[in-house]
Symmetry: D2
Subunit: 162 residues, 4 copies
């Protein structure tokens, strides 16, 4: 068996957003009974990974520069998170990701962690495309185009699904 047998494993595109389900397990909680604050960053990183995966572009292709040669990767430059409500063991959460502002080398991704219609946390992460020596690189036109399709009209946080 493999990924084709688990069609939802990488989440789904819904409108201009990517949605990934995340189950809360023992490992995600701490002794206060709630999800440990740093683990929301893990949930959101899973969402971003599967967002890119869902674009149908391999990491290699997507992350190649316009000249197609140099090795590159997205590095996180800045991250902000508001904790609005706690999550608990066994909860089914959804990580909803949209694209915000795009620069020549940077990309803002806005994410929400929700339980049903309730937003539990709201995160903005600014990533920078860098080469193997850590220098910013121009994001390729192909990649810019792919992300622009997921850019919320107002560049803001994802809207609740209807």
């Amino acid at each position: 068996m493999n990924q084709k047998d688990w069609p939802d494993l990488a989440g789904r595109i819904e409108g201009r957003a990517h949605v990934l389900p995340v189950r809360v397990y023992f490992e995600d909680t701490d002794f206060t009974g709630l999800v440990y604050h740093a683990n929301y960053l893990k949930f959101c990183e899973r969402g971003r990974s599967d967002f890119v995966r869902s674009l149908g572009v391999s990491h290699k292709e997507l992350f190649s520069s316009e000249d197609g040669s140099e090795q590159s990767a997205f590095a996180i430059a800045h991250l902000e998170i508001d904790y609005l409500r706690p999550a608990h063991i066994d909860d089914v959460l959804e990580v909803v990701s949209t694209v915000g502002e795009m620069g020549k080398a940077t990309l803002l991704i806005n994410q929400e962690v929700r339980r049903g219609d309730t937003v539990l946390a709201r995160l903005s992460v600014k990533v920078v495309l860098v080469n193997s020596r850590g220098r910013p690189m121009r994001i390729s036109a192909l990649m810019q185009e792919a992300f622009r399709n997921f850019s919320a009209v107002n560049g803001g946080h994802p809207k609740p699904m209807p």
Copy 2:
């Protein structure tokens, strides 16, 4: 949206085994490029959690003693794991869980972490039902029955799915 929208989120029962898909994300790897050894235990704990969930018995009911009153939980007493082959970023793994020997208060769960037909790790975990003071308790007949249906004939490790 919630769990009904993600039918595979808690994995599936296949024959006498429970199968849970697990994606390898950044958080699971270490600088050697492979999955960090302790994270296989997390994958297997997710499998056991969803295995119990798939039995259709709530934690509360399942973990109540025969007299139905005392609070209890499964504690891990012993764990063994063989690391056979490494896993990598982006891999889709499957955690396959079956039930081994059952005692009055103990339960052996055998698990494999697979990538396709390849077994990457094999784990046996002995859990003990304990009350709130940490004393072993008799596993209820209801729970014994539920687990017995997932006991491999030879009490051994799960067999490859046909």
Copy 3:
């Protein structure tokens, strides 16, 4: 043996700052060879925990309200982090914590993760004192006094140690 045998285990007070050493282990890195971004939040939470410990006030005393009765705890409301330079396996890092603005129920803690004189990450976390029902509570005069001694003059980020 116990904590008295490990005098530096909870770090040290230096001027108006608390400094905690943190070693980078396998568990902290990911396959890119660098420290995983969410783990800086773990390092900083360790720093805050030991900062409070170093104040010589027990969690119980510190976190009791002025009337001394109600159970309470600090919850994280907002967190921002700038990633400036990467950290690697085996690095010895230092988490430097100072106190920023204080409100009736809130406290801003500014933290830096450094390697020698180099700042690798800069974090600000806003915590709120809440009661057991999640309602904000007034921070006790005792606790306000304790934290005020660690407030940087300009309420800003910790200054490099001389």
Copy 4:
């Protein structure tokens, strides 16, 4: 500041054992109020890392084969752990490591996680020296000699310190 300012950061050699102190933080616990079972493996990996560090041999020298040329590393082949008593938030634990049986390419390391005189968990891990293609390699005479000095007489678990 750096490691020389934190003399105990990598633990200490005591007799034939290496001892590393480990503080239990929020991140280590789960909603049951106890330390999450997989995190004992993290504590023990920290102990092994600092054990090797304390031998005064760099990873590069130690892990070079007899001919001094081929790149190599220790991979975990098998691991067993007994969970005897739980650990809690704020606990100061000690990871005590000794060397058990040594083969041409393998090494057994026995470890205990203790709180004061109480053993909370007992772990045995079998590591194999492998080259970059995953093939077992002969452990160098230099490395065998270094580890033999930490071999408990009976190849068994570490004895309580007097």
